[in-house]
């Protein structure tokens, strides 16, 4: 077993925050979209294929959270190499996790836009693609948060290097 330092503890907290924060937001978003989707499918089963696409939209934030968490775990040496992570490096990783967790909150609002998109495209199939684009818009903060975290982890700390 590797020696757990304060740095490792901070880093894992960062990984936990990144994945838990985005995970909770995704769950709320996908939930909101799911409620709308069930209604639309009850009206007409044909709505299923549109609804499933909308419902998948808020899931990307969790993907960003997961990749960030994975990079932090790798950087903290928990995948075998074993490294005595300094407290400072651990705090930096915690910060990176926090960026992704907080920007990932966008998944909640993306879920709301998805729900509206499901309802709109059930009424008018032409509203499908515009609805998808509206959903894509909400993801912007999460994308920039993810880029910032990547820069911190990969460029700053050299996690993969």
């Amino acid at each position: 077993m590797i020696e757990v330092t304060m740095g490792t503890a901070f880093a894992v907290t960062g990984a936990a925050l990144a994945l838990a924060g985005t995970g909770i937001a995704t769950a709320i978003g996908v939930g909101a979209a799911g409620v709308s989707a069930a209604g639309a499918v009850a009206e007409d089963k044909e709505n299923f294929k549109n609804a499933i696409v909308f419902q998948a939209m808020p899931q990307t934030q969790t993907i960003y959270g997961f990749i960030t968490a994975l990079f932090i775990i790798m950087g903290a040496g928990l995948l075998g190499e074993g490294a005595n992570l300094s407290t400072e490096a651990g705090l930096v990783m915690l910060g990176a996790g926090l960026i992704v967790a907080l920007t990932g909150i966008s998944a909640i609002f993306q879920g709301q836009v998805s729900a509206a998109g499901i309802a709109a495209s059930a009424k008018n199939p032409d509203a499908f693609v515009p609805g998808i684009v509206f959903c894509g818009q909400v993801e912007t903060p999460a994308i920039f948060g993810f880029i910032a975290a990547l820069i911190v982890l990969v460029v700053g700390l050299g996690v993969l290097g």
Binding site: F66, I67, L150
Partner: protein, 647 residues
């Protein structure tokens, strides 16, 4: 390319007698779009009965009625599996028909209906009869079940005695007893279930009205039973037997009707399509301007069809008058190479370009495929997409033009995903390096994040530069030099100046800063002239907005890393499973590997598509593209179930 096809506005005056023939021919050829003709107000226009409108609509109703009634008796062909539909779908069956006028179509449909309808209706009536017998017997059986085991004619009213039999709510029984306490009645009660009870109430004829009133008040529901000198049990047995034979007969008749429908269903579908085509002709006829014995037909005709259009008219009528001119308000007919035509869907989705305005589809075709490929970026994912696209093109695409276009789009996306996958060293993520095989590549987005971000910003600069140059050229072409400078020049200076200041040294850096200064001044002055001092000052915020547009392209890298990151996690888990779990680990490992990569391809493929759309609609189009045009929709008889051999 880059401009829509040339369309002519034609105005043809011809004899009213020839109008229907001309509409039929134009409808079959699909070479023009009929537009509503300008009405001549000063003439007192005679109202024409349009192309047998009444007869066509009545016939349509009759036909629809038969189709709706027999829908459940059609032969249900086992549905083709998704894969068969995709790769090798059954070709649609088409029946040959003659090209007929509306009147003849109505006659033909009526004639065929007179043959088909009696056969079908006879069966339908029989089916209804049998069904009602079964229903009635079921109802009687249900009622008889509630009865005590006496002869049922015991409950029949006589000359002097009125007997009511029926069902009441158990809770109402006390109320009933209370209300009829003073009356001269006999009540029999048998519980049917927990909630309801069967009752019979016998009274003299003279009291019957009062009793009926009371029964009505307590919610008595009268039931019918057969009165016979037999016990309910016996009658029920008889009725059940009767139902059994009736159901057998019913099944036989239904089978016969299905047999009839097997022969007739396709004929009915052909007739339905013929009537639909008649209706479309009527709608077109309504667009004509009618005056006395002449009609005016106005239509948009693409340049390539003009000769055919003229010859069609010449064939139909010897004498006519035609004006042909190009008009600015013409609809837009895309004019792109078949390979990039699928990308028209994306332009259309945003807005169709106005007639002869710049069509961004050719530029978009390249940049959309590049962006998608950049974001999904995996050699093998691209190959899978390409494979699916080729199968679709050869299978489903054969009979479905929409699918054919989509498959070409998918081919482009697949090719670029593979090419950029090689560029980014992504072959199912990092699978091959993990098993000790090094494959070629230029940039690893996971370890060279900064380089990848800078690359996406370079792409942003090039993409926006192209958009701005197009916008500048378009404005200049229209003679709007000030707008060209204020709307695009500013950003061109800012972009070039910014790049020079960032990477240039010495004099280049100074020139860069100078260009940025110039851009700011032009921005202030242009907006001052256009909207006054307040807007002019506020317009400085557009500069940060422009920077935001450039940085928005960093999402290309974020999504590329998203794909690579998930692929890495999938490979890691799959190989860990193989290493850690003996024997069955390899099976679980393969399952994780395949499932994980499919998930990654679908999720990130969706993301790549959405964000490629966004970058075009928001960042790119906003620099130059106006849209607001109307799509050219040819007047064309789409025949799915039939075909004609037209000259």
């Amino acid at each position: 390319m880059f401009r829509s096809a040339t369309l002519f506005h034609t105005r043809t005056i011809l004899s009213k007698d020839k109008a229907e023939d001309l509409i039929i021919k134009l409808h079959e050829h699909g070479i023009s779009e009929i537009k509503e003709a300008e009405q001549t107000k000063e003439l007192n226009v005679e109202v024409y009965e349009t192309l047998d409108e009444k007869a066509v609509k009545e016939t349509q109703n009759q036909l629809n009625e038969i189709i709706t009634k027999t829908i459940n008796y059609r032969e249900i062909k086992p549905p083709e599996s998704m894969i068969t539909q995709l790769i090798n779908p059954t070709p649609p069956e088409k029946i040959k028909v003659d090209l007929l006028s509306n009147e003849k179509i109505v006659n033909e449909v009526q004639e065929k209906l007179s043959l088909i309808k009696p056969k079908i209706e006879e069966k339908l009536i029989l089916i209804e009869e049998k069904k009602s017998i079964v229903e009635k017997n079921d109802y009687l059986i249900e009622n008889l079940e509630a009865l005590p085991n006496d002869f049922t004619n015991f409950f029949e009213s006589t000359e002097n005695i009125n007997i009511q039999i029926g069902i009441v709510n158990v809770n109402s029984l006390d109320q009933l007893k209370e209300k009829v306490k003073q009356q001269n009645v006999i009540i029999g009660i048998k519980e049917k279930n927990e909630l309801q009870a069967f009752i019979f109430v016998a009274t003299t004829i003279s009291h019957s009205q009062e009793i009926e009133k009371v029964l009505h008040e307590i919610g008595f529901e009268s039931i019918t039973i057969p009165f016979e000198k037999a016990t309910p049990e016996k009658i029920m047995k008889k009725l059940t037997q009767e139902n059994k034979t009736t159901k057998q007969e019913l099944r036989a008749i239904e089978a016969e009707l299905k047999g009839v429908m097997k022969e007739q269903a396709s004929k009915l579908d052909v007739l339905e399509e013929e009537i639909d085509i008649s209706i479309q002709r009527i709608i077109a006829y309504e667009q004509l301007n009618k005056m006395n014995s002449l009609v005016t037909l106005e239509a948009w005709v693409p340049e390539e069809n003009l000769e055919k259009f003229k010859s069609t008219i010449k064939k139909v009528c010897k004498e006519y008058y035609m004006e042909v001119e190009e008009k600015e308000e013409a609809p837009t007919k895309f004019d792109n190479h078949p390979l990039i035509q699928p990308f028209e869907i994306i332009t259309e989705l945003y807005s169709v370009p106005k007639y002869k305005q710049f069509d961004p589809t050719p530029v978009l075709a390249i940049s959309f495929a590049v962006f998608f490929g950049y974001m999904l970026t995996d050699f093998f994912y691209g190959l899978v997409l390409l494979g699916i696209a080729v199968l679709m093109y050869k299978g489903m695409g054969k009979y479905n033009p929409g699918m054919k276009k989509f498959s070409v789009l998918l081919m482009w996306l697949g090719i670029f995903t593979s090419l950029l996958g090689v560029f980014f060293k992504s072959y199912l993520g990092d699978f091959f390096p993990r098993i000790g095989i090094e494959l070629p590549g230029v940039l690893d987005p996971l370890s060279q994040v900064m380089e990848a971000i800078i690359l996406s910003l370079v792409i942003a600069a090039v993409h926006l530069f192209i958009g701005l140059v197009i916008g500048y050229y378009e404005n200049a072409r229209k003679g709007k030099m000030i707008d060209a400078l204020g709307q695009q020049g500013v950003w061109l200076f800012l972009l070039i100046g910014g790049i020079a200041a960032l990477i240039g040294e010495g004099i280049f850096s100074t020139i860069g800063l100078g260009l940025i200064g110039l851009a700011v001044i032009i921005q202030l002055v242009y907006n001052y002239i256009q909207s006054g001092p307040i807007i002019s000052t506020l317009s400085l915020f557009n500069i940060s907005g422009f920077l935001g547009d450039v940085f928005s392209y960093a999402r290309l890298t974020a999504l590329a890393i998203g794909t690579a990151g998930i692929a890495l996690a999938v490979n890691f888990m799959a190989l860990m499973m193989v290493d850690m779990v003996p024997v069955v680990g390899i099976i679980f490992g393969i399952m994780i590997f395949i499932g994980g990569h499919i998930f990654n391809m679908v999720m990130n493929g969706l993301g790549a598509f959405i964000h490629a759309l966004r970058l075009h609609f928001l960042e790119f189009f906003s620099k130059f593209y106006e849209g607001g045009g109307k799509l050219y929709k040819p007047f064309y008889a789409l025949r799915k179930n039939n075909y004609t051999e037209d000259d």
